[in-house]
Symmetry: C2
Subunit: 276 residues, 2 copies
């Protein structure tokens, strides 16, 4: 999938919503716990209930790794289910990997060849040769951590460099040379919306993956105001606020309702920008 | 395990060797491919052949993730085998994780509770709250990326900050406050031995995990010269140069021979420092 194809899905669905599948055994409805793969079963229900409202789904690897082989199975089944039933959905493995070249090659194989997701989140700390192996597969994307939504983003990401840039700005400006607007996105937290206008000066055309709307408190309007470009250029993620909107056997309707609320807001924004 | 206990194992084994289990299906002897879990089988043979020479083993998660559930099983079996047969070995999951707090908590559970390794490598980019959940389990360690052995370490890690420090120095000096010398180590590449003396000024007492001796070309003598402290303070890792020393059915003897060569060199260094 290239940037133009993502934009066309955004236009068709009138949405730039990404739904985070941070699926936690302890939080899913009890009635699913008897299934052989409760995590997959929950994801399947959430996906079926929200697919027309979401451009992307983002399984968070930690939640699957915690469950060992059963988690790995649930992850593989979730991706396979999306591929089979909703081929035009963009699938992001939220894995935050990154290692020396020969190791990153292994991760690239694991995520792009075997699991067959469209994109993986990566940490930039180890530099270019830790990222390059992920750029070798046509149609697959890297999503580099730039300025994250958590409090700890001030510890290093926002440090001032001697050249006047902040670290996250340097990460963006250096790494933008490694790939293209058709295989590279950046993570910028919704809680840091005021930084988006500066980031847009560095990378006017790249897609940004923006977590932090919902449970973490970021504002969708502010994100759109500062971060949107003329091809939308945003995937805004909500995880817990959608998938755990209700924990009874009405969880699907509640998830759909919350996803729909965000989609409606996004539709309004896209309209006001003349993008749909 | 605390730092003193690690030092005692170092003294007993006259070694500060860590063996990286970067076990690649394509590189293991053909005769193992008929086993149900060839990767585990290979690891088991390597471990049995080298255990008296090595203080630590470090499975590299990418190599296991690449194999999906079979890889996960092989990883779990490898850690369980070490725990059962060699309880005094220090086990490091080379995973380079790090995410927002509630996600890092999941990873901490996956690695420290379920898999039950002693330590995990982490990327510092997301700051304190991405690391803190890993410091909550007594006896378990974080190993933070500081200055890595690859070429890309110059992209960001070595950038000069406005305050005069380089990023990796700031990462070390900030994060040293998060934990203690009994639960925090740092990754410093052997190919960057000249930086070790500066790092030792910042953290005289912490253990350092030093990859890059062997296939990557770092020098053990230089690492010891600049990085060793009065409790050794070093775990030096070699992966491919040991485990793929030979790919015929003599692989165990060849791995032992290479591990033994490094151990002998380490014994000499420990003796010359009066540490054994």
């Amino acid at each position: 999938m290239n940037a133009e194809e993502i934009f066309r899905i955004i236009q068709r669905k009138k949405s730039f919503l990404c739904i985070g599948l941070d699926t936690d055994f302890k939080k899913i409805p009890k009635l699913l716990l008897d299934c052989e793969y409760p995590i997959f079963e929950f994801n399947k229900h959430i996906i079926d209930a929200t697919e027309d409202l979401a451009v992307a789904y983002k399984p968070n690897l930690a939640f699957y790794e915690k469950l060992g082989t059963a988690g790995q199975m649930s992850l593989e089944m979730t991706v396979a289910y999306l591929r089979e039933h909703y081929p035009n959905v963009f699938i992001i493995a939220d894995a935050k990997r990154g290692d020396i070249g020969n190791t990153s090659q292994m991760y690239a194989h694991a995520f792009f060849k075997n699991l067959d997701v469209d994109a993986i989140t990566l940490s930039p700390y180890m530099g270019r040769d830790s990222i390059a192996p992920f750029l070798e597969t046509d149609g697959k994307w890297i999503i580099l951590l730039a300025l994250t939504s958590n409090e700890g983003s001030s510890d290093f990401q926002q440090l001032q460099l001697k050249n006047g840039m902040r670290l996250f700005e340097q990460v963006i400006s250096t790494s933008a040379e490694w790939g293209t607007v058709n295989n590279t996105m950046y993570v910028v937290g919704a809680t840091k919306a005021e930084a988006l206008s500066g980031i847009r000066k560095l990378i006017p055309e790249h897609f940004l993956l923006v977590p932090g709307v919902g449970s973490q408190g970021g504002s969708l309007d502010e994100v759109a105001q500062w971060g949107m470009n003329d091809r939308c250029g945003l995937l805004v993620n909500a995880s817990r606020s959608i998938i755990y909107a209700d924990v009874t056997n009405k969880f699907e309707q509640a998830a759909r309702q919350e996803a729909s609320r965000l989609q409606k807001q996004m539709e309004g924004i896209l309209q006001s920008r003349g993008l749909i």
